[in-house]
Amino acid sequence: MDTLTRTITIEEAPIAIATLDNNLCFINCSTPWQQEFISPDKEIFGKSFFDVVPSTPRLFRSVLENSFSIDDNIVEEQKHIMPDGSNKWYQWSIKPWKETDGTIGGLIITCTNITKIKRAKDLLIAAENVAKMGGWDLDMITNTIHWSRITKEIHEVPLDYVPCLETGINFYKEGEHREKITELIQKAITKGEEWDIELQIVTAKGKELWVRAKGMPEFVNGKCVRLYGIFQDIDKKKKAEIKNAQIKERLDLATEVANIGIWEYNLLKDELEWNDEMFPLFGVKRKDFKGNFESWKATVHPDDLERCLQEFDMAVSGIKDFKTEFRIVHPDGTVKHIKANAGIFKDDEGKIIKMVGTNWDITEVVNTQLKLNKSEESFQGSFKSSAVGMALVAKDGSWLDVNETLCLSLGYSRKELLQLSFQDITHPQDLEKDLSQLQRLLDGKVNSYQLEKRYFHKKGTIVYVVLTVTAVKDIEGNISHFISQVVDITAKIEAQKKSEEFLELTKSQNNSLLNFAHIVSHNLRSHSSNLSMLSNYLIEEQGEIEKREIETMIVNASESLNETVAHLNEVVQISTEAEGQLQAVCLNEIVKNVEKNISALLQQKKVECQISIDQSIKVKGIHAYLDSVLLNLFTNSVKYSSPNRIPKISIQATKSGNFIILNFRDNGLGINLERHGKKLFGMYKTFHQHEDSKGIGLFITKNQIEAMNGKIEVESAVDKGTLFRITLVAA
């Protein structure tokens, strides 16, 4: 009866419990046991423990070894590998039961499946390790602190380290961190408040570390008896967070300041999100914003819409990044230029689900660019088509670019010019003044300068220009290059020269005319007055001898008049005939020929002649005039030679540019030029007491030379000699 009662009790127990006999065969078991180890419908009675329980608990070994002689209940947790390979944890508790006679009848076994608990604990430890999270526990009564292994590792203290409340607090970084934790602990003790805070500690090794400290108080009878909590190393995370916060702050500031709008578009849901900057950027009020693709599309300028949609499609289909510029129209009609960049986000299957991008206003940039383009265009246009020669010149003087007009002026092709510098083609006499002006420009003393200068044409001729140089500065205000404007005034200068020549010619012709007028008014008149006077005398005179005398004088006066008229005629002929009769004449031949013709005279007067004229020298002249000129000079030299020395004549010719200079030098009486210089080449001017002096030779000579476009000059010293310098045009 007793047994029955017992049996029933065991079977109904709410825990897994079983009784075994001395052979370790089941006497009985509870329903939970049956459910744990064997199908509920199977009979367990009489079965061996070892057949029912998959792997024998280690505990049994000691029980068997000690022949059941165990005093008390023994408990052990053990991992069992099930027949299907899974693991289970059981907590075993074994106690012997005794027969009424006191002998051991068998064992009472309870078994608790602790697999879940065990696993949760393992997980906790693993989590603790992974999360670097430690625990701590402070007994307020004994003032002892327990730190878990991880907590000690975080503090970088040895595992046998024993902390107390004070040392624990002192690990917190001095200042706000330590003050904060102290305050929190006090609040917890006095007011029962929990804490969860992120603070910095300084480890035993002196490392600064961000930790998360969490603490909870435990109260008994209104008094705090215990504080416990967790302690976690969040240094990396915290530092990353701080850094992120800084970056975000910076980014927020940047986007706000730069007016960068950020948008995010969900393709699947057709949801468009804008940040605060987007609204003013697009001139859209937040309340009017529908937040879909359409609301963006509505803002785009009609002319740009099609292109934008194409670009959007290309981005969505992954052909091309969405990097574009487009115009938008504000509700008030203002047009803005927007620059847009976007990235795409794909789901696991590679399908594009989201686009995130930026927009910013580049209206000003675009407008500036447009203006710049326009001014650049107009500069290029005027540079190319300018009638003024223009060039961009580097600081070292090399040509960076030249226009067509400049090329034409200088005779070089563009390619040829670009390989030269302005120094290369500047007339050496003008280089220094240009360079000194340029230096002033480089020194910033002036912004531009202008000067007249000469270049050499490719052919070697001189190009006269008015040059204006302006400095061009880069964005930092330093001179980057120069713009040169070159106005070719060669034609003008040549015209000026020509008109000066004309003026000179006119002057000389005018002089000739005046001279002529003087000759007419004086020389002819003196004869006519003589004639009229003598005629009157002849009429009045009675004496025959007197009459004859007067008649003779009349004849002489007539002859003189005739002669003068002949001379004047000659001069007129010289001036009129020379036109168009100039031809190349070999100077040496002429001189030698004249010398030969008067060799008798020269020999008679023992004149020493030295003629040195290169055979190649040819002048534009008239043979007869040159003969006459030289004959006149030779005879003059002989006529006015000094009686005190052997007459010497030296004749030489040199070429100078387009001219031939003939020097005719003698060692004769010389002429007082101070006195007679002005009249030297005048008609009927004589300066020597000489029977042959008629004052006509040099007058004719000068006229002949001038008729050949030449000129005659004289140098002389009394009783030393005379030098006639004749300049003729080279042929």
Binding site: R525, M533, F687
Partner: protein, 135 residues
Amino acid sequence: MGKIESSCIIDDDPIAIYGIKKSMKEIDFCNTVVVYKNGQDAIDGLNNMVAEGIALPSIILLDLNMPIMDGWEFLDDFIKIPNNNTKAVTIYIISSSIDPRDVIKAQDYSLVSNYILKPIKSADLLRLLSDGSNY
């Protein structure tokens, strides 16, 4: 003032000299006439007179256009003759030149009393004498 003691003709034209002399004779212009063929001869001659203490001619008839030294150059040199008596000499320019520039230039010389156009007639010489009386 009537007849003067001596006069001087400076001219290179023998016909002109003949005419002047003839006219002088007609009106009994002076006792002696000195003739020089150009300015240089005249300067040399007058210098000699000064050196020998002979009084300079009171009237000089000066041609402009002459070889060696013309009338203008003579005037420039005449001032330089070292003798106070030069101030007592009246110089008349006799020229065939009707060039107004010559007439104007003659007025610039304070030494020159008048400009007489050739040919010289006796009436011209008479006027000189009466000029001299006003002197």
